[in-house]
């Protein structure tokens, strides 16, 4: 009787949880509705009519394409750098014992734990002190710095699950360190790295605060969005771009979840 009652959720809790989830999702769904509205000048609700013409208009906008290409390029290179550095760090922390291990984890998390504006200004003033001109590479440098943490978190969680005896068995059978890495460690951490890489890509693709400080004249897609938010020029195009950004960021999240769902720690739990 009693355990039966305990296993059914109280109605109030159900309503509160459902309302909370609705609060999280309805605004994103509205983005999809507004992408098809016929209203151009305001954010009128309900939309007076629906149309698909803005998809074509957005498709033919060179500035949207330029921003999108730049974002994809930056995110790809930042992810590659973060994959290398994050894996190295995770390997060192989980495979060996040394003085200051705890400090390393703190150091990796710091760029994302401190408000983005601090990271941004610190990098900007460092660039100006070192007289490095703003370029594609300064954006990549900023992005890679805070992407390391997601790769590191995923890799560390997976390294913890690889039993040490696997590596020892490989060594006993005569494999050298590189062969052990190639045939034992890499297949085991592969999906975790892929998941971490996808999340790093999503993080970089969406980043705006650090980018405003480390980009010169170039604009990534989030910078383009931000300019439209501050000074709206063509609202329907912004609506369509917003919808596409939502769809693009969903894919890596679902992919990362799918790749790590059997593990003890699922990717993306800490953004």
């Amino acid at each position: 009787m009693r355990s039966d009652r305990l296993n059914r959720s109280p109605l109030g809790l159900k309503i509160a949880a459902a309302a909370g989830l609705a609060f999280m999702h309805v605004p994103i769904l509205l983005i999809f509705l507004y992408a098809f509205t016929t209203e151009e000048k305001s954010y009128q609700f309900p939309p007076p009519g629906l149309t698909t013409q803005w998809l074509a208009v957005a498709w033919n906008r060179p500035d949207v394409w330029a921003a999108l290409t730049l974002s994809v390029k930056v995110a790809s290179i930042a992810t590659a750098v973060a994959l290398v550095l994050g894996t190295l760090c995770a390997a060192a922390v989980s495979q060996t014992r040394f003085f200051g291990r705890e400090t390393i984890s703190l150091l990796v998390i710091l760029p994302i734990a401190l408000p983005g504006i601090i990271t941004g200004i610190a990098l900007r003033s460092a660039f100006s002190m070192a007289e490095i001109p703003f370029s594609f590479w300064t954006i990549v440098l900023g992005h890679a710095t805070f992407c390391i943490v997601v790769v590191y978190n995923n890799a560390v969680a997976r390294f913890r699950r690889i039993s040490g005896s696997l590596v020892e068995a490989s060594m006993d059978l005569g494999a050298d360190g590189f062969q052990t890495f190639r045939y034992i460690i890499l297949p085991n951490i592969g999906t975790a790295l892929l998941a971490g890489g996808m999340l790093a890509f999503a993080l970089s693709f969406d980043e705006v605060i650090v980018t405003t400080f480390t980009a010169g004249q170039q604009s990534t897609l989030p910078i383009w969005m931000l300019e439209e938010l501050i000074r709206p020029r063509q609202r329907p195009v912004t609506n369509v771009v917003a919808m596409i950004v939502v769809l693009v960021t969903f894919l890596p999240i679902l992919g990362a979840y799918y790749l790590t769902r059997d593990g003890d720690q699922i990717a993306g739990a800490g953004k």
């Binding site: 305990l6 949880a17 994103i28 509205l30 190295l88 150091l107 601090i118 360190g177 705006v208």
Partner: protein, 316 residues
């Protein structure tokens, strides 16, 4: 002894990779250095170096007449930081961060509790993705969505009109501090968007803490005659508190440093992030901007220290 055993077990490998591998095996410290050097150079030198350079600048000052930075050690910039208008900005930001954190905890708790205790199988996955997708959705798109919602001609006004409650909305907007011309230029709007954007960060830590509460503790409490409210107050809440504190680290820190949300949805009164942005950009006063960034760093340092003492890091 060990040297003999080593010689017995492994004849020297051939080839450069084999020899390198043997070398690493015999000198694990070299391997460790090779592994750690690139990430430490990147984070420790480039990133921490930039942070220190920034903090150092807060001890310089700006020359009022020429507008150039005066490279002499001084506390003048910090005296400027403690002026009345700047203290106002700091107080406003910290109280906003506190209310946002509180509201986030209130909304996040039922979702986390349901997901931790009642959702099973397929529902558990749906809950997880239902939290993850909004969490990872684009920050700007989320703000943009609220710009659509809170606009004067937007869905909120339409909703109140349909319910014939427009007078209620107008009454709220005519209140002195929280009101404004429309929701999108009021503190109420800023608050809602802050909660919306940062609340998802609260759910997963609370859920992790709640999942570790043994069910028999709750049963024991009700067996001993505790009402649901008493069980919540004396059993569940204290055990979930480390998770709430862990989540609040994110909501608090992220609200403290944000400058885009109050710029797009809010009144013209500044928050810390906007002050930093304005000082380093249009005003060109890097020392004051640097001094302003010290405020969130100090507050978060104290907050993290307190959270660590409450055991919040185990819930992360």
């Amino acid at each position: 002894m060990t040297a003999v055993a080593e010689n017995l077990m492994s004849p020297e490998r051939r080839g450069p990779t084999g020899r390198l591998s043997d070398f690493f095996w015999k000198h694990p410290h070299v391997l460790l250095t090779v592994l750690l050097a690139p990430p430490l150079l990147w984070l420790g030198v480039v990133y921490i170096g930039s942070l220190f350079a920034l903090l150092l600048q807060s001890f310089f000052s700006i020359d009022d007449f020429s507008g150039l930075i005066n490279y002499e050690f001084t506390f003048a910039t910090y005296r400027q930081l403690l002026s009345e208008t700047n203290l106002d900005i700091i107080l406003r930001t910290v109280s906003m961060a506190a209310i946002v954190t509180l509201a986030s905890a209130l909304i996040a708790f039922p979702i986390a509790y349901y997901a931790a205790r009642y959702a099973q199988g397929k529902w558990k996955v749906l809950f997880y993705l239902g939290v993850m997708l909004p969490l990872w959705s684009s920050y700007l798109v989320k703000i943009y969505a609220w710009k659509l919602i809170l606009a004067k001609e937007g869905i909120v006004t339409w909703f109140f009109e349909k319910l014939h409650l427009l007078w209620l909305l107008d009454a709220w907007l005519s209140l002195p501090v929280v009101g404004g011309n429309s929701l999108s230029v009021s503190y109420t709007g800023t608050f809602i968007v802050f909660v919306y954007v940062w609340m998802p960060f609260m759910i997963l830590p609370i859920q992790a803490a709640l999942e570790r509460v043994p069910t028999n503790l709750i049963e024991a409490s009700s067996d001993l005659g505790g009402t649901p409210a008493q069980t919540f107050r004396h059993v569940l809440f204290p055990l979930a508190l480390p998770g709430i504190v862990a989540g609040s680290i994110f909501t608090f820190s992220l609200t403290l440093g944000d400058y885009i949300i109050p710029q797009i949805i809010g009144s013209s009164r500044l928050f810390i992030g906007q002050a930093v942005y304005a000082q380093q950009g249009t005003a060109g006063n890097i020392p004051l901007a640097a001094a302003f960034t010290v405020v969130p760093i100090v507050i978060m340092g104290a907050y993290l220290w307190m959270a660590k003492r409450m055991g919040a890091f185990d819930a992360l």
